[in-house]
Symmetry: C2
Subunit: 337 residues, 2 copies
């Protein structure tokens, strides 16, 4: 019998999650049935959406039960296969959850294709975050040449792709990030036209100055006070794809006034489009198109990305909780083995 490790949800967080909300356990790996594959996890992707799974508040997906294994996507090596599509040594993506090994149905796995870019991009620039940026911008944001696209968490895996795609498609990219290092990266490395530090006291007026023609597309992945600064800048027929609200995940607003009327009034006044989405809406029909469009650009370095790779499976909880307050810099990935 093979023993592996997993991380389960020990308790639901009250506000910001702490490492104590998780528990590291050993478990006995079952034997693979016909159609199943035994895999060893190489990399675990840590993503903001996982915060939602820790809570039993209404969400777009069911919560992880207490004592249940945390959900997550991983890059794995096939050890043994009882499925025709996979052989030992194959590299696959799968939803193993936070585990070091797993036995999964082969039908839920996908061979990793990165067009020559490093394996880890399969959960970053060429995975769910990159595809979230590409599909949300392409199908909802629809930037036209010369328009202004703004995005927060601009040094992160979604935001960095949004801005680079905006530039690629002929628009102006304005990034919002937290701290001088991230801002410098967004401007100097990623080539955004402007970047604003959301921690600055005069953040709202700086953002306005950086968007002299207003904002045509705001790619919403954080919520919170960034939204308040963006709202008055949105142009007529502005589009707002909403893929995440990380500023809200740890609890409700600290505002003592009702901010809804201002938002609804702006939506009416400016004929805005606000559209929530999860990338799974577009993936079945468009993921392959994304990969063949963006894969070679990532492999060649035309599109840049940054990863924050943490060593050691046992460090996943601390890395995850830090990420929720901006403690990482780049796509957060745990190197498991």
């Amino acid at each position: 019998m093979t023993t592996a490790q997993q991380i389960v949800l020990a308790s639901r967080p009250n506000g910001a999650p702490k490492p104590e909300n998780f528990r590291l356990e050993s478990f006995d790996l079952p034997q693979a049935d016909e159609g199943e594959v035994t895999i060893r996890v190489l990399y675990l992707s840590l993503d903001p959406y996982m915060r939602g799974r820790m809570s039993d508040a209404k969400s777009y997906a069911a919560p992880v039960p207490i004592d249940g294994v945390m959900e997550g996507e991983t890059i794995c090596e096939v050890l043994k296969s009882r499925h025709n599509d996979f052989s030992p040594g194959d590299i696959v993506r799968g939803r193993t959850g936070w585990r070091t090994m797993a036995v999964l149905k082969g039908d839920g796995l996908r061979h990793v294709e990165t067009h020559g870019a490093p394996l880890t991009t399969a959960v970053g620039a060429l995975g769910m975050p990159g595809f979230t940026a590409w599909s949300g911008l392409k199908f909802i944001g629809q930037p036209k040449e010369g328009e202004t696209v703004a995005v927060a968490a601009a040094s992160g895996p979604v935001g960095s792709m949004v801005g680079q795609l905006a530039k690629l498609w002929g628009a102006r990219a304005v990034g919002i990030a937290g701290g001088a290092d991230k801002c410098a990266y967004v401007k100097d490395e990623l080539g955004f036209d402007a970047v604003i530090d959301h921690r600055a006291d005069d953040f709202a007026s700086r953002l306005a100055s950086a968007c002299p023609d207003g904002i045509d597309v705001y790619f919403e992945n954080v919520g919170g006070h960034v939204w308040d600064a963006v709202l008055p800048l949105l142009n007529k027929y502005g589009r707002v794809p909403v893929c995440g609200l990380v500023a809200h995940y740890n609890g409700s607003s600290t505002s003592e006034t009702d901010r809804l009327p201002a938002t609804m009034s702006a939506i009416l006044r400016q004929s805005l489009l606000v559209r929530g989405f999860i990338q799974t809406e577009f993936a079945p029909d468009h993921f392959d198109e994304f990969l063949s469009d963006i894969g070679p650009r990532v492999a060649s370095g035309e599109i840049k990305y940054r990863e924050d790779i943490v060593e050691g499976f046992e460090n996943a909880p601390a890395a995850f909780t830090s990420m929720l307050t901006g403690g990482n810099f780049g796509k957060l990935i745990v190197k498991v083995s």
Copy 2:
């Protein structure tokens, strides 16, 4: 020299407008220049959007200046014409503002076409309110057969058309209205599948019961507490055309909590589309299509409408201020002469 009457904005309202915010005046009608038409106003349309024009808060249109004539659309008879397209006796729609007579450029006028329905429908069921309903539902709401469409102010000119179109296009129509009389009209006369009185203490739970399969399209024309009850009922991929927020027009929310996070979370969780619009976005390309589609149905009685016609130009301010709190029943129109 001919003398006519006009109503100007005497002062900006602080909260709910009062008749004292208006002033009735006489003015000397100018002579028509080449290309202009002298017209006599038969009917003045009173509409909620006019509340926005009284305020100097940011809006989608410039405010009426103090001492300026209130804006508005009217149905008029041509008295004298110096424009080739118009002859004395023609019935036209025009933006004269709140006036009994006017001299306007002929290029801004439009012959009234009602397919045999009464003239007044040109500012109601077959005018701006009807077209708002038709275009918002057709291009944004896009109800599919069997889906549930909910609309507030369901006895009003926009809401009544939204529900009837929803039925015509194969969806289920749930109306929200204020008071037993309006509710009975919506259910019994307009043929909505269900109607809920928003003044009921258990309004939210009644609305939920009336929408056992949730809400696929919520046509937003009021805002306020109706939105709070609708929000948890919206289905995945729900659509929310936003054409008005009459509950907000007289001042900001009375909520002491921030309602924005719940709205943004629902948008994300349910992949909602929220889209503000003004009917002028669609009118140039689609008004004729609307008129030929809906005109004959209104004329034949297949699509029903109700008008609240107030006699006497001088009564416009009181009728308008009452409408903003639901005091009218049907499309509010002032019979001027």
